[in-house]
């Protein structure tokens, strides 16, 4: 099977992870812009971060046969530094239309503060104006209210609901998102958010429509194989294969290919690796023999 992990922070992951992901059948990933575990203090840090997820990380993924897309956005936590947030929003349009940017994200609420809402609305309006998809990060605390408000505000701004992906759902929030007509994404985390067993139950209960599974793996305890492992469990527990395929591949593809940035045909062909390629004269190799013309095992 092939998989799409539409939410993962690869800059925090190792090349071992990339190899394991390719082996498990992950063909494509989306790296949404987020914080880095602690707040940045300068605009330059954001500029370099956006460049990194658009540049070096995209190249690095390609060296393992994985297509790498990204989202550009100002996350909710750092929106609370309003002076810096204004500067970031000012330069955001310079990055938002780059090749491989499939959405504005991940944006939304953390503390559900007024400053977060201002940055969220600004970015929603930007997305609507440029017909872009939006990936919403839902808050840990007061999640249900936070999600309801994310949807209501997006609707008020006039963002079409099929352009809205709300992430980090759980049993208490999924209905609100599906009823709104938005995409409901679920993050499989070993200890928090959503476990694979619960994910099976949700797909059995609500069906596969508009439901997306992702790993959101990052610098915390998380699993870059969350999507294929959940798919395996769903099959074992009797979820129909076509439902597994939809929730771990084609729904994410449908949601994010609205950006026009995903070459679906190319994704369907078996990727071939050429590790002799360079990025700014730099290689992922550290003295090993390059893998050339190696098809990604599946």
């Amino acid at each position: 099977m092939r998989f799409f992990d539409p939410h993962i922070h690869m800059i925090s992951r190792t090349t071992d992870d990339y190899e394991a992901m390719a082996r498990a059948g992950i063909r494509a990933v989306i790296e949404p812009a987020f914080w880095i575990g602690q707040p940045r203090t300068t605009l330059g840090a954001f500029v370099d971060y956006f460049s990194q997820i658009l540049g070096w990380e995209r190249f690095r993924a390609s060296q393992f046969g994985i297509a790498h897309y990204c989202c550009i956005g100002l996350n909710s936590k750092e929106a609370n530094n309003e002076a810096l947030a204004r500067e970031v929003l000012e330069i955001l349009p310079r990055f938002a239309f780059k090749e491989g940017v499939v959405a504005i994200g991940e944006i939304g609420y953390d503390e559900i503060s007024a400053a977060e809402e201002r940055a969220y609305v600004w970015q929603l309006e930007f997305a609507r104006k440029h017909d872009m998809v939006v990936m919403v990060h839902s808050p840990h605390r007061d999640k249900k209210r936070g999600i309801q408000r994310s949807i209501a505000v997006a609707r008020e701004v006039g963002l079409p609901m099929e352009k809205l992906v709300v992430d980090h759902n759980n049993e208490e929030t999924v209905k609100d998102v599906l009823d709104a007509g938005a995409w409901a994404a679920f993050t499989i985390y070993p200890h928090t958010k959503m476990g694979s067993e619960r994910m099976c139950e949700i797909v059995k209960r609500y069906g596969p429509r508009q439901i997306i599974v992702d790993s959101s793996a990052d610098w915390g305890v998380s699993d870059p194989l969350g999507v294929p492992k959940t798919a395996k469990l769903m099959l074992e527990r009797g979820v129909p294969p076509e439902h597994v395929e939809q929730t771990t591949w084609s729904n994410a593809l449908a949601a994010y290919s609205q950006s026009g940035q995903i070459d679906v045909e190319a994704l369907l062909t078996t990727p071939v690796i050429d590790q002799r390629a360079l990025f700014s004269d730099n290689s992922v190799l550290r003295g090993q023999a390059p893998r050339v013309d190696a098809p990604v095992p599946n």
Partner: protein, 303 residues
């Protein structure tokens, strides 16, 4: 005694001659108007002289601290933090924009230990409300040491956070596993919206098949309502001993004494019985949850 006096007198008894010599020179430099750059260096250098161990204040030092600033938990400070805060409090013209800038610059370049000391200093500064946003950064942090320095063991959030920031900080204790019972002033700032957020979280946890953190029930206070009471009764029926003890304390706070009595009558665990008996006798302040905190060791003051 001012906060600075309390720090200086505590340090007098704890720094040896070499440490004291460095500290006095550093402090003189700060008082003579060291620029921001030098001030940041001195805050860093402190770690090369001052001991990192707990300050372990005596009873009289603790009461002097409480008299200087209500809610000051000096027992949670290290000697090094005390040195750093004393340096901050020695800054000239601290109430002027220059002082604010010096503190902000120090935060910007701080490592984790310096940041903890700086967060602990905020409630002691003149015009502390200038630093509400900065304290909020501590509450937004994912590093527990920083979060605790900014949110627990300081009167700052209860005094200066707005309602939203306050609720977020309190609920976040559960997410970051910081001791909620150590949030100073929590019982004086309970309100229905905080209880509502806590109860939504209960439903989320139940849907996920996860246990409820016993400290969550602190948030209900007397605003449990029928929804809260139903959840507490369920916890009494199904929960672990710690969970039952936490729910029992919450029943007392919700003034549901009949239900608490019933819970006590059917309780067989001696530890839980003791907590519930005390709750019935009116001892159910948020500090009572310290008995349920497996990481909590009562501090023995040095005499």
């Amino acid at each position: 005694m001012s906060s600075l006096d309390v720090c200086l007198s505590a340090l007098d008894a704890r720094l040896d001659a070499r440490q004291q010599d460095w500290f006095q020179r550093a402090r003189a430099e700060v008082r003579q108007g060291a620029d921001d750059d030098r001030f940041c260096q001195l805050l860093s250098q402190a770690s090369r002289y001052a001991p990192r161990g707990a300050l372990a204040p005596s009873e009289s030092e603790l009461s002097a601290a409480r008299a200087a600033l209500e809610g000051w938990s000096l027992e949670r400070w290290s000697v090094l933090e005390c040195v750093r805060v004393a340096l901050v409090l020695s800054l000239e013209r601290l109430s002027e924009p220059r002082g604010e800038r010096a503190v902000e610059e120090a935060f910007r370049y701080a490592d984790i230990g310096e940041m903890c000391a700086l967060y602990k200093s905020l409630a002691h500064l003149p015009l502390p409300e200038r630093f509400v946003w900065r304290a909020g950064e501590g509450a937004r942090s994912s590093m527990r040491a920083l979060f605790e320095a900014a949110v627990c063991d300081t009167p700052f959030p209860a005094r200066y956070f707005d309602d939203n920031a306050w609720r977020q900080a309190v609920i976040k204790c559960l997410f970051i596993e910081a001791p909620m019972w150590r949030v100073w002033g929590l019982d004086s700032r309970l309100e229905p919206e905080l209880a509502r957020m806590a109860l939504d979280l209960v439903e989320e946890r139940r849907s996920a098949g996860r246990p409820i953190h016993p400290e969550l029930w602190i948030c209900l206070g007397r605003h449990a309502g029928a929804r809260g009471v139903a959840q507490l009764e369920r916890e009494i029926r199904e929960g672990s001993p710690r969970a039952r003890a936490g729910a029992g304390l919450a029943l007392a706070r919700a003034r549901e004494l009949d239900r608490l009595q019933t819970a006590l009558a059917s309780e067989s665990d001696p530890f839980v019985r003791q907590i519930l008996t005390e709750a019935l006798a009116g001892r159910a302040a948020s500090s009572s949850w310290s008995a349920l905190d497996p990481t909590h060791k009562p501090l023995t003051p040095v005499r």
